[in-house]
Symmetry: C2
Subunit: 402 residues, 2 copies
């Protein structure tokens, strides 16, 4: 029998307990032994909860209990969680986490400790909720040299953009609906400003390309500036608006990673990923494009990914897994501002001025909200910014997913 | 250094050699050792091929060479391939195969031998070409009780149906185009009659539900009877036509598996899987629906899945993988004819007769090619067949994906 400890008994933690309990028999068969929760660490008490009597308040009880083989971290953040995860690994316990902030900022360090101690440090649930993505990326696609990862990584913003597109409602109104439905937090900043997607693309980039990419190295634009006008222009041109996290390996080996809203042509698979769903496209030299699609968040989907990692850790307790990436650094990343892309720009400037500044721009015939929309030829963001700061008045340019 | 032998040097076999050669450095890093091909077994000679000097014609050379750790079977079929795979396992070698016929018909036996000898028998490439599906199914989704697998499993038929739908061309004409493009074989029977999809759903069902489902237990209808009229009715009702393989676990634990063309609503993710692409939806109790999407066939995508298995076998040579399913039998499967579904039927019978025979049928207003199209209420196929054989004249009913 494998005994585990849960750190944090919020949404994900209680979901993990629920899945372990509900599917106990099949999980035991797959792990080749029974998996039971021995402790739940939380500051609160849960007197009416079926697992309430497992609650402890002192991490050192878990740390010092040799029976505990796997510690499951569902606290979130990178302060207390970092301390506990580090100590759990140093105490010789496998660790499973759903905490993207922790992995995106301290993944390399924690993987190093796990490697030195021959332990598992697994975090499938940190990206894409329950969608299997990290393990396929590292094992099933291992024969490929990967060139790009591009995905809708945040369900809340995708819900908002889908509703803006389909129902023509403005951002603020849709955000309120998302909050009422429980899809968005009362403080929605991490979602709508792109921070959550940024952490996830960091983890994906590190696994795909082998070097840690830190969140502060990833230029991140959220969706707060997207208006009904942008959405109407997208629809007019056979596209939709999606918040994408992208990581591209350039030919010189450097990684270009960023998060930004994009215009996405409707015949692109990512355009069909709607509401709170996530879709992640991985591009490899042998496989071409592969997409993984499903619920990117939510109690049970996330818990399902955590429990799969717990099963894996239990099965491979003696043989460590091969998750690994090297340290990051300024030499790892390339500036996304140098990446040539086409851009959508809306403006009140004259056609003459558009032609003069952008050359072969493709101007849309319909004027929307008194503005003209156009697509630039392929050009780097730094060049677009140069033109705009040179006095060409326009809303923030939005890149087109080719 | 791990030495491997390739059996069969056709499309997949030569793709495997190409990927192993091209991405040798990153593959060696992931496998933690170099992987080299020592033998290629084929009846032919390849004097101008860079690997031509590795060709042997006698399997026993490979069988008796203790240096060979992994045998990669790319011969196809279930006669010679079965003999060699069995002998390779008995000789203590891990086996990787892309052969769906072999796995669908003899998977249980071969997995048993592998288990007894503590060897890997891996076959990711047998379903979905390069799309990671079998490993995610068995590991990443291990916390779930799976309830259904439903997928577009054959690229050739999906190409044909997509072209019929988008360009309104008849079946025969599109089949010819598919053959010209190399998507369909000169003898396209295995694709268009559903045999290929049938083998794949057998493998998926066995992995998902733990019991071998044999191809002869899976009622299979191909796409040869689908006409432009069906496609026009589908379009008229906001749907498209897709050949789906489905495996459903009923509440009594029995598996209901079949292959048939379906009407699929355009807002369903599977409706957006076009051309030669495959899409496989897995439904679990915790995760909900997850979809895997990509190129389901082709030299390099398939080779990429084979090589990922070779890397895995090399890394886990001492610790066998947990792929496993129990023997099949008549008690495992349930008759799909009892599954309640809605059906599309086109007929020249009167509205009065439709109402009398099918009760609450939803009749489409537009008459196409002199026929009326309607959707039945939810009812089992056996009941529909009963009505039709009772003298209600109609084209073959097509189920609706709910």
């Amino acid at each position: 029998m494998a005994k585990i400890a849960l750190l944090g008994y919020g949404t994900v933690g209680s979901g993990v307990a629920e899945v372990l309990h509900k599917n106990a028999a099949s999980i035991a068969r797959k792990a080749a032994e029974e998996i039971t929760i021995k402790y739940i660490l939380d500051m609160r008490e849960f007197p009416d909860d079926p697992f309430g009597d497992l609650v402890v308040h002192d991490f050192s009880i878990i740390e010092q209990d040799p029976e505990i083989a796997v510690v499951v971290e569902c606290i979130g953040g990178a302060t207390v969680a970092l301390d506990y995860v580090r100590r759990a690994l140093l105490a010789g316990k496998d660790v499973v986490t759903s905490n993207k902030e922790l992995v995106a900022t301290h993944g390399h360090e924690l993987l190093m400790i796990a490697k030195q101690k021959s332990l598992n440090f697994l975090f499938e649930a940190s990206v894409g909720g329950g969608i299997p993505i990290l393990r396929p990326l590292t094992s099933c696609l291992a024969a490929n040299d990967l060139t790009e990862i591009c995905g809708i990584l945040n369900g809340t913003t995708n819900f908002i953009l889908t509703k803006m597109f389909k129902e023509g409602k403005p951002f603020d109104e849709v955000l309120k609906i998302a909050q009422e439905k429980g899809y968005a937090e009362r403080n929605p900043a991490a979602d709508i400003e792109g921070t959550d997607a940024c952490r996830k693309i960091c983890i994906l980039a590190a696994l795909a390309f082998g070097r840690h990419v830190y969140p502060e190295q990833v230029p991140t634009t959220g969706i707060t500036a997207i208006t009904g006008t942008d959405v109407a222009f997208a629809a007019e041109s056979g596209m939709t608006v999606k918040l994408l996290g992208r990581a591209i390996r350039r030919e010189d080996g450097k990684i270009c990673a960023y998060v930004a809203p994009h215009f996405v042509p409707l015949d692109n698979q990512l355009a069909n990923v709607e509401d709170v769903f996530n879709g992640i496209v991985v591009c490899g030299d042998a496989i071409g494009d592969v997409m993984f699609y499903g619920r990117g968040a939510g109690k049970l989907p996330t818990a399902s990914a955590v429990v799969a990692d717990v099963i894996d850790a239990t099965k491979h307790h003696s043989t460590k897994k091969f998750l690994d990436w090297a340290e990051g650094g300024p030499d790892v990343v390339a500036d996304m501002a140098a990446l040539p892309m086409r851009w959508f720009i809306r403006t009140t400037e004259s056609l003459l001025r558009i032609g003069k500044c952008f050359g072969d721009a493709e101007v849309m015939s319909r004027v929307i909200d008194g503005q003209v929309g156009f697509f630039t030829p392929k050009m780097p963001k730094c060049r677009v910014d140069e033109i705009l700061s040179g006095g060409f008045s326009a809303a923030a340019p939005i890149p087109i997913l080719a």
